[in-house]
Amino acid sequence: MRKLTRRMALAAGFALSLAALPAAAQTVLKVRPFGDLRTLDPMTTSDYMVRNHAYMVYDTLFAQDAKGLIKPQMVESFTTSPDGLTWTFVLRDGLKFHDNTPVTSTDVVASVKRWGERDGLGQQLAAHTASLTATDPKTVTLVLKDRWGLVLDALGKPSSMLPVIMPARIAATPSNQNITDATGSGPFMLVKEQWSPGSKIVYAKAPTYQPRKEAPDGLAGGKLANVDRVEWLIMPDAQTALNALQAGEIDIFEEMPPDMISLVKGNSKITVSKLSALQGVFRMNQSQPPFNNLKLRQAILRLVDQEQAVRAYVDDKALYTVCPSFYMCDSPYFTDAAWPKADVAAAKKLIAESGYKGEKIVVLDATETALSPQTLVVSQLMRDAGLNVDYQAMDWGTLSSRRTSKNPIEQGGWSTFASGPAAPDMTEPVGHLALRSNCENSWFGWPCDEAIEKLRAEFTMTPDLEGRKAIARKIQERAVETVPYVPVGQFWLVRGQQASLNGLLSPGVPVYWNVSKNR
């Protein structure tokens, strides 16, 4: 009886072990993304995780290459009329959605119209559009009301919200409702039944995808899915993710905290590379005292030493840049025109001139974010300069809600918060989140300046690069006076990855085409 029992136990154990084996060997890329996928609609939220999801499952008409130039992606060819008002786009042959239906111009028109209701640049395109029509199944014709200069920049926008192309039946969803069907025409498709919010998102290689023949270049070029599946494994704790990377349980660890880099430096199986650049933005609430005071804002611009602030987060010179500009330092519109040097004495003089009388400055700090160390440094600089700082630590959810308040400080209002928009959102004056100065319609903090807005409008109507650069320079000169925000340094987020991976791209947005791993 005893022998029988033992044998039975061994047999049962063996059977259980066999049950654990995968049905078929597939190449699975396991990624720990920086966050979680909360919704599926890339046209209703600027959440970067949703943007990254969009790059997995959707394709775009145009895409930005490594040099920042806009290149055709789903579009085979396009023409412009001599007056610059009529644009004709012809789609590539063989484009298909994941449900095996062809991508047609009707889908393009419906998608672009939906995107144009929500995205800032899309809304501008819509405002300048006289008509957008499907001329034949492969041809889309756009007729502008005036010679608006950002058609390609809009349709090839690299970051949130992306002008992705979805089936017309899904694009018919009202733009104030989230779509729930993630059918796209991109290199991967969402395996929705395996999506477990907060835990795992699974993508499978899309058999219907037709990549371009060119080599991948930035976000443009051929998008070859070289793995069978990509699994995004949500791990809220960075130390857990590092352990998993070291044990070979995951292939990629997005947004590895800089203080962990030294822990893997001697590990030949792991490499660290740049993932995406951010600009630290220290935002002031201009709708309430004390930062409705121009002199006080100018004082903060002179008070902040970017190097001091950014080094609180990352202390490796290769991973940060002190950038004397509102634009990213490696962007085409970078200029250091009129930029004042950090000067505490000058800042104190401006504080005195501002008539500041010790009013409370409420600093909101989401302590789980990369910008928290910079917030602490700037808070201390303000205290040292004699400002009355009320530092309030909280989570991002609370901060996101508090910053929408225009109430006085005594009624739950706020004075400053820090955020880190990604490089693609901070390179030119139209899409630039924090430079916009259109009062109630601008980003939280609500800067209001007619001159900047006129220059931004002029930028959109200027077709040539040199002309635009000159306008971008004027905007910077004006913004140094009005101080819509204070940049607190430009820094790189990094990712840890298995050294055995091949072809992992770094276009500034995490994308997982072209990458391969051994089976």
Binding site: L16, S160, M161, G198, M235, D237, T240, E249
Partner: protein
């Protein structure tokens, strides 16, 4: 007995009602707005307002409460405001990892605590007793995340015996599932084992001084048999009570353990939902936890009958 169970079950309804009401208003008083988080960083005020309207968050609080209560009456916990998935489905996806983790942790804790507590009581005042009590003190004082990272460092990263993180569902094989739960189960069991060992020791010491134990010894019964047959059974009531209370403590402990070991269970779902202000998910989870708590307490009370025939309901 049956009428007692029915009365206790009936009493859960007002308890759950009160908990539901409390959580509903507590969440609405907490700073944060799911519509703002859904809309993202670049949303305009109009876009946020549109999402709030879509989610029904612009309606008066009482109206929202009545709508939720109406859903609950039909057994519908609502849908996540983010993923649009049914809350019951979301919870269903997360129950297995937490249940398995809690089960493994309780079994490990009992396997560690009962022998140690018994040994300690039998050798009261000896070096063994002091060593067990020292272990209990260290176990009780060590934060779960410290124990967890130490276990990962030694048994996963250095020795490579276990995975550093993750959960393998039972459907992929019981052994791989248990393999993925050894370290998290142990991390969670340590605190619990320490508590149980102390209670077992104290309870057993009290029972060992009772007259019937002396009588059993006087009759010539072997010491091991005295402990197993008479003493342990009679010291079970405080131990079972602590096991019951401990299940509630485990529900709190799994939040940290599930985070450190990346186990997609109810603890992670709770923290994620709270951070996102996903009201329907938080409300559903708190109701579930309350139900578990009430049920476990009822089962503990009923189990007393097994250990002490004098108890009648």
């Amino acid at each position: 007995m049956i009428s007692y169970v029915l009365r206790r079950l009936a009493a859960t309804v007002p308890v759950l009602g009160f908990v539901g009401l409390f959580v509903f208003f507590l969440l609405r008083l907490t700073p944060g707005d799911p519509a703002i988080l859904i809309a993202g960083d670049q949303a305009t005020t109009a876009q946020i307002a549109s999402i709030r309207a879509q989610l029904g968050l612009d309606r008066p609080l009482v109206e929202q409460l009545v709508a939720w209560a109406g859903q609950l009456a039909q057994g519908d916990l609502g849908r996540s405001v983010f993923s649009d998935m049914e809350v019951t489905r979301l919870i269903g996806m997360r129950i297995e990892p937490t249940a398995m983790l809690a089960l493994v942790a309780i079994l490990m804790a009992l396997a560690i605590a009962l022998p140690l507590g018994t040994l300690s009581a039998l050798k009261a005042g000896s070096r063994t007793d002091r060593a067990v009590m020292a272990f209990a003190m260290v176990g009780f004082s060590s934060p779960v995340f410290v124990v967890a990272f130490l276990l990962v460092y030694v048994f996963a990263l250095s020795l490579g015996w276990f995975p550093t993180q993750g959960y393998v569902p039972v459907s992929q094989g019981l052994l791989p599932c248990l393999n993925s739960l050894i370290l998290p189960g142990l991390a969670l069991a340590m605190l619990y084992a320490a508590l149980l060992a102390r209670v077992t020791r104290a309870s057993l010491l009290e029972v060992l001084s009772e007259d019937y134990v002396r009588t059993a010894h006087a009759k010539g019964m072997k010491p091991g048999r005295v402990v197993l047959r008479h003493a342990l059974k009679n010291c079970a009531i405080p131990v079972v009570t602590v096991v019951g209370v401990g299940i509630a403590a485990l529900l709190g402990g799994v939040v940290v353990t599930e985070t450190v070991f990346n186990i997609p269970g109810l603890g992670r779902l709770t923290t994620d939902a709270i951070l996102r202000r996903d009201y329907p998910v938080v409300q559903g989870l708190i109701l579930l936890f309350s139900l578990v708590y009430v049920t476990v307490n009822l089962l503990v009370d009923l189990s007393y009958v097994l250990f002490d025939p004098r108890i009648r309901y």
